[in-house]
């Protein structure tokens, strides 16, 4: 599996740390239920899914990767900074 870093290009999977599902972070004041969903519950889809990968041994960018969990195909990638996942302030 090779992952396309938006900054560095195609790189070996070994350069990356995977965080898991790319989810928008709830606000600090969100309900327990919202936080439970964010921390624990997952769609766990078989097929295309969005994940956060960290280019640990490269440019240190956090990347939102759209990947197919059945075929392992990398469908698209973009910088997580552009994916609007942060909590609203």
């Amino acid at each position: 599996m090779r992952i396309t870093c938006p900054i560095c290009g195609d790189r070996d999977r070994r350069e990356f740390y995977v965080k898991g599902a790319a989810l928008a972070r709830p606000e600090a004041s969100a309900t327990l239920e919202d936080w439970h969903e964010h921390v624990n519950l997952r769609d766990n889809r078989a097929g295309e899914t969005k994940e956060l990968w960290y280019h640990e041994m490269g440019c240190s960018a956090w990347i939102e990767v759209c990947r197919n969990t059945v075929s392992h195909e990398i469908v698209s990638t973009r910088l997580a900074a552009t994916a609007d996942l942060g909590a609203k302030r």
Binding site: M1, R14, V18, R42, N44, A46, T49
Partner: protein
């Protein structure tokens, strides 16, 4: 049909023509008391226990492929009860006791081999942790022995005791642990359930779960609608998708775990040995092949195959810890889909929908749990109360944060187990 020494002898002398199929191939009925989704180890053991322990025989096990075609046939066959935390500790203790009587119980040779399992330690900190774990295991009523470096060397001479970075300082031995023939476990439970009237329905994929007013009514399948008073999930790596049919989201991510088998070689390893550093577990099958594995690939996957970096890691660790195996050829490798929970421990609980039950989140430890899980899950389905050995496998622990069982101590978070 029962097995006996006499029967095997007679069949051997008469061309093995008298054996009948081990279970029927019934058409699905329109309605059952209990429908179990998933014909793997846990589903079949649950069906067997419903019929045997609770007299509930109007039961169907629905399997989308063939019986035992999932993780029960894709694991490294290790059976042990050396868990540390309350909750896991009593459950796996219960399960190991069930393993010990399983062949007589099922009249089926599951090749249960209590060859002993050794967790190797490499430094003082790990030794302390092993002492503590060993005491917890003994307190639970199971067996654990701390082995010095010399005692371990005598028992398992083939290991690399003087690796510069990870020298082996000793190990924790559980003599009652070992391996079993994984397929036979599924077949034994399947035959036992079938003999007690359970319908085992293969090539029957569940495509929907009918819920009305918060109560389960039955399932839609590739072979028609089946109504049921109770529906029980036992779908392992596919649990998330099956639960989604009932509108549920589970605290589960499915990951791929790879396993490997080498060519057959002469007996070199009598025990199951696992290493903390680099993580490796290895045993030698009765055919002579080494069966071994390491970590998850650590990304979500339904592919039943992994990537090369983890293959490389596993081989490196294997050759570092057991250098004599360096020239053995790897015959095959495969991947299984693990239903990973945030804390790495399982769920046997109500789903929140009346009549719908959950058995999932077995992570990479489902095989050893099969007899205990079948026993405990059947108890929950039949009585609506948790079995005494599985009271802590609650779904709600993730919401409340109470009773999390993070055996590895890495934190109850999805990407850490």
């Amino acid at each position: 049909m029962r097995f006996s020494g006499w029967r095997v002898l007679k069949e051997g002398l008469t061309g093995n023509k008298g054996w009948a199929p081990h279970w029927r191939d019934p058409e699905p009925q329109p309605e059952y008391d209990v429908v179990i989704i998933g014909g793997g180890g846990h589903g079949l053991a649950t069906a067997y226990n419903l019929a045997k322990e609770h007299g509930i025989t109007n039961v169907a096990v629905l399997e989308k492929g063939y019986l035992g075609g999932g993780n029960v046939g894709r694991n490294t066959t290790i059976v042990r009860a050396n868990y540390y935390l309350p909750g896991n500790s009593e459950f796996y203790s219960h399960s190991l006791k069930q393993w010990e009587g399983l062949e007589e119980e099922l009249n089926y040779n599951v090749m249960m081999s209590q060859r002993g399992q050794i967790m190797v330690y490499h430094n003082d900190g790990q030794r302390d942790a092993m002492v503590r774990r060993g005491n917890a295991i003994i307190n639970q009523g199971d067996d654990a022995e701390l082995l010095s470096r010399e005692a371990l060397r005598k028992l398992v001479p083939i290991l690399n005791y003087d690796n510069a970075r990870f020298p082996i300082m000793g190990g924790l031995l559980q003599r009652r642990a070992g391996t079993a023939r994984h397929d036979a476990v599924a077949w034994g439970f399947a035959r036992g359930a079938d003999q007690r009237g359970v319908d085992l329905i293969q090539n029957c994929e569940v495509t929907g779960i009918d819920v009305e007013n918060g109560k389960v009514r039955g399932v839609q399948t590739s072979r028609g609608v089946i109504r049921a008073k109770k529906v029980a999930l036992a779908a392992a790596g596919r649990s998330g998708q099956v639960a989604a049919m009932a509108g549920l989201r589970l605290p589960i991510e499915s990951h791929v775990l790879q396993a490997f088998v080498s060519e057959g070689i002469k007996p070199v390893l009598d025990h199951v040995v696992s290493f903390a550093e680099g993580h490796l577990y290895v045993s030698q099958s009765d055919k002579g092949g080494l069966v071994f594995g390491s970590y998850l690939d650590f990304y979500s996957s339904y592919a039943a195959r992994g990537n090369l970096p983890m293959v490389e890691h596993t081989m490196e660790t294997c050759v570092s810890m057991v250098p004599a195996l360096a020239k053995a050829k790897v015959l095959r490798s495969w991947g299984g889909i693990m239903d990973m929970t945030p804390d790495g421990s399982p769920i046997i609980d109500h789903s929140g929908i009346e009549g719908l039950y959950l058995n999932c989140g077995w992570c990479y430890g489902g095989f050893k749990a099969i007899p205990g899980s079948g026993n405990a899950y059947a108890h929950l389905i039949a009585t609506d109360r948790p079995h005494g050995a599985a009271t802590k496998f609650k779904l709600d622990r993730f919401r409340s944060g109470q009773g999390l069982m993070d055996e590895e101590g890495t934190g109850a978070q999805h990407n850490l187990h």
